[in-house]
Subunit: 190 residues, 2 copies
């Protein structure tokens, strides 16, 4: 198997796995089902991934890497207001662009566990993300507000009720709600 | 098996099932595991429930019935503000008192599907609940705000980060966040 072909198969495999995860849940999807949907043998799947957990991690990884980039960029902003704006904009945009994956993240314990174990979801990364939202000296309300924001936007953004909205409309609406929770002006300054 | 004994077993069975669902997920819990944990035969479990779906529905049912009562009481309030206050108070209180069950509701596709199929989660019930939050002539922002509120409070209320808080503290904090999304005064008028 040459390298280019192997890369193609890996990408196709991850796309197929994501589709089957969305339809049947992670627990309800077997390596055999992934092989069948791709029209390859189970051995061909094993060539790329030894376990289903490796597949869920690989499906989630690019989105988690993107989120890390957003958090780093947000921390580099000079004012706390600008940090929150940057994180809100980036997080909402990420949720909107990866709606089906985010819906899976927030509803499936299999993929949620895979994310928990991922390096990108280490305690230090979570703390860096939350620090931006809660500020340097957080009270309990600030901590719970951050959790309502992140969970609410992720779940609402991936819900079937908004599936018919185009990305731009959903993005603007989620941002309006998020900015309200954080007393931010409705439009981004940049 | 006399009726009183059968009632006791049913209650124990549902409590045990909820505990196993919380530990292993719905998909990861078998009828055999429930029987083993109770120290009874699988036939004894079958006497009460023919399928795991019947168990998940029975676990969820009392909470859904309670939510129906809250929605009906909220609709009976005379002003829109009082309706929203009543629903916020009742929903937050329900989430706090049933934290582990709500965490399961909002994270497990098995139990989420069971709730979807339940009569208490019919389209008309969902519409009645949402109508209170979005008002008679809702725009898109109102609809998405309601989803962020419900999902955010349910997920944040069941999250491990707040598990150490006592009910009263968690209730007050979730209410503060919810009231902010709806521009409601911080304290209930009653």
């Amino acid at each position: 198997m040459d390298v280019v072909h192997a890369e193609d198969t890996r990408t196709r495999l991850l796309n197929t796995a994501l589709r089957l995860f969305t339809e049947h849940g992670v627990e309800g999807t077997s390596l055999q089902m992934i092989a069948d949907a791709l029209g390859v043998t189970k051995a061909a799947v094993y060539y790329h991934f030894k376990t289903k957990a490796e597949i869920t991690e690989s499906v989630a990884e690019p989105v988690l890497l993107e989120l890390e980039g957003i958090v780093d960029d947000a921390r580099a902003q000079r004012t706390r207001g600008a940090q929150i704006d940057h994180l809100l904009d980036g997080f909402v945009d990420l949720v909107v662009r990866h709606r089906s994956l985010v819906a899976l993240f927030s509803s499936d314990p299999g993929i949620a566990r895979a994310i928990e174990k991922s390096v990108h979801s280490s305690a230090s990364f979570k703390n860096r993300l939350l620090e931006i939202l809660v500020g340097p000296d957080p009270d309990l309300t600030a901590i719970v507000t951050a959790q309502v924001l992140l969970a609410g936007i992720a779940v609402a953004g991936g819900s079937p009720e908004v599936a018919s909205l185009d990305d731009e409309t959903l993005r603007e609406t989620l941002l309006t709600v998020g900015r309200k929770l954080y007393n931010r002006p409705r439009r981004r300054a940049t």
